[in-house]
Symmetry: C2
Subunit: 364 residues, 2 copies
């Protein structure tokens, strides 16, 4: 018997990609409920060749749901995810709402799958930029150790949603009129200033937090430490939005602390890593680029080279589809890991399960 | 009495900008000769309200020339710049041909103007990415010292010439067809593979050199050490081409080695620096961006913040117009400094000058 799955934020860029990937991967779902805000309710979406009507995400929708994917913004997750958990669903939340909560596992299955054990019904999916970086760093850490990371990002607009893609399309159509186009979304929809992203580079993603860093930069710093289980790791980040539709790129500097670490060894570790593809041949001009990572599941790595001055330190270029491994795919991989490990809530290793209603009573 | 000036590469993106800036700055030129390859000879250019015919750059053209600006590629400079010098011209070369020659000064006037003294007729203008970075780093170095630099660049296509701007225009017009557009110029015109730059990020600028670094990256590493006069400085670079028309951006990490260095002190040093504008107010979303640096002379700095882990280390976002301070403007500022310092070749501090023909004889 398969699972009842809910997608909250079903009309958004990530929600649509989750549905597409569930279908493509033959995820064991008997039923999928498409949920969104009242504004988007009534929209029709295609799934397994059939039309489905998107319904409003209200607490009662989660009765009988086994696994709920949330990607409708932090506010929706804060309000509804605990309701869904209370009703027996295991929630995989793609917002930043619970990521740094010490009781919520923050998981990239290839890196810290063991953290799923003993969860309380809520698992957080990390920030897109963080996921692809830790996928590349974990094989290095396991082999040589890891002491320091400095990353500068080159991020796509689809990370800011479907509207941002549309706006880039309008702005990009007229290079000669660059800078004069309307801008109403980036860098932050609710902020007071908006800048065109076409033919530009905006060094702000999300709002500014403390010490001059943006929240996106703090996410990369703090989530990396949590996922790798290294609170003492030295990490810093600069996050920049670019006129790229989909595919985040990262210029990553890392110190292993092991002077014996060499390029061949790092390359071998990356080549052996699950979900990582090495695309690195300067002589043939082969390296990852966002335009060619779009639509692909893997994290692509290239431009690996020794730092000229610091033994055991390297530079790496890391590219991945921010809607796939950065969001939808990783969320589904978390669900698949939960299923394989018998860790979906209310489900024993024997496959039996029960759901609870809002009052904690079994509903089946 | 003013100077006779030659512009070699007068039809290119940098050559045209040099002419425009000579005019705008009332450069003391009695006569300007517009020179280019045989292919471009005959083209007409506007200068001081008059049409000028571009002539072929051959050695004889430099007889009687006081100052020659070269920006027609390294091959042309290697062949013709020594000829121009032999004929008495002071050459300011905007290519990489002579930059690392130990006998050739490599100059950013705000940083190492003193290196102009005792030149032998040839002065090299640094790489665009290097110029804007050292403008930002020198005030820091003077105040606190400098031990280490790690830079990731976000570079505009105009650094690859006027044709690259046109190609981006075609590619950018159709976001939905991204990746399917013709690409015949970037990353390197003569290389075997070309990639679309629109809606992409290409982690290759110039050819690959040794150790997996590109020549652009080695330029940033080696030129920075030479200009700052710090052969022991630890520098590394990752250079990336973006769908931006004009304006290079850089994410710069630097260690001063002085644990007492603080943001306020760095900011004060940048604010006091000639040619540097600080645009840095997170609360008001103010930071430099290439779209707004285009056409402006200054090097813009912002997003200054302490590294979270290393005392005396900081992150800075540096943006400048790569055709202006990165090329044409810096070349003209070198010429202006030579004039002010009485260091134009064959010219004494009393303003008298003489030119030599190809045989070393005075021609006037």
């Amino acid at each position: 018997m398969g699972y009842t799955v809910a997608i909250v934020g079903a009309t958004g860029a990530v929600g649509r990609t989750i549905a597409a990937k569930l279908e493509e991967r033959n995820f064991p779902a008997d039923r999928v409920k498409f949920l969104a805000s009242a504004r988007s309710a009534g929209t029709r979406v295609q799934f397994r060749g059939e039309d489905h009507v998107v319904e409003e995400a209200v607490p009662e929708q989660f009765d009988g749901v086994d696994i709920a994917f949330f990607s409708a913004g932090g506010g929706v997750s804060k309000g509804l995810a605990p309701e869904a958990v209370r009703r027996g669903a295991t929630v995989i939340d793609n917002t930043s709402a619970f990521r740094m909560d010490p009781h919520t596992p923050l998981v990239v299955p290839e890196v810290n799958r063991a953290d799923l054990q003993g969860h309380s019904g809520l698992i957080a999916n990390p920030n897109c930029s963080t996921i692809q970086m830790v996928c590349a760093l974990e094989p290095v850490r396991k082999k040589y150790g890891l002491e320091r990371v400095i990353v500068s990002t080159y991020q796509a607009v689809s990370g800011a949603g479907a509207e941002a893609i549309e706006e880039l399309g309008h702005q990009g159509a007229d290079m000669d009129g660059r800078g004069k186009s309307d801008a109403s979304l980036l860098p932050v929809k609710d902020a007071s200033r908006h800048y065109p992203v076409a033919y530009n580079a905006i060094p702000q993603i999300d709002s500014f937090g403390k010490d001059g860093y943006t929240l996106e930069e703090w996410k990369m710093i703090n989530e990396t430490k949590k996922i790798l289980g290294m609170p003492e790791l030295r990490v810093s980040a600069t996050c920049v939005r670019l006129p790229v539709v989909t595919g985040h790129s990262e210029s990553v500097y890392f110190e292993t602390g092991d002077p014996a670490a060499d390029e061949a060894g790092i390359r071998a570790a990356l080549e052996a890593a699950e979900g990582v593809t090495v695309l690195d041949n300067p002589a043939d001009q082969l390296y990852p680029m966002p335009l060619f990572a779009e639509g692909k599941d893997d994290v692509f790595t290239g431009r690996l080279r020794k730092d000229p001055d610091v033994p055991g330190a390297f530079h790496l270029w890391v590219v991945s589809d921010n809607l796939l491994k950065g969001a939808a795919l990783n969320s589904i991989q978390i669900a698949e890991a939960l299923i394989a490990d018998g860790a979906v809530k209310g489900e024993g290793a024997d496959g039996t399960r029960q759901h609870l209603d809002g009052n904690g009573h079994a509903v089946r």
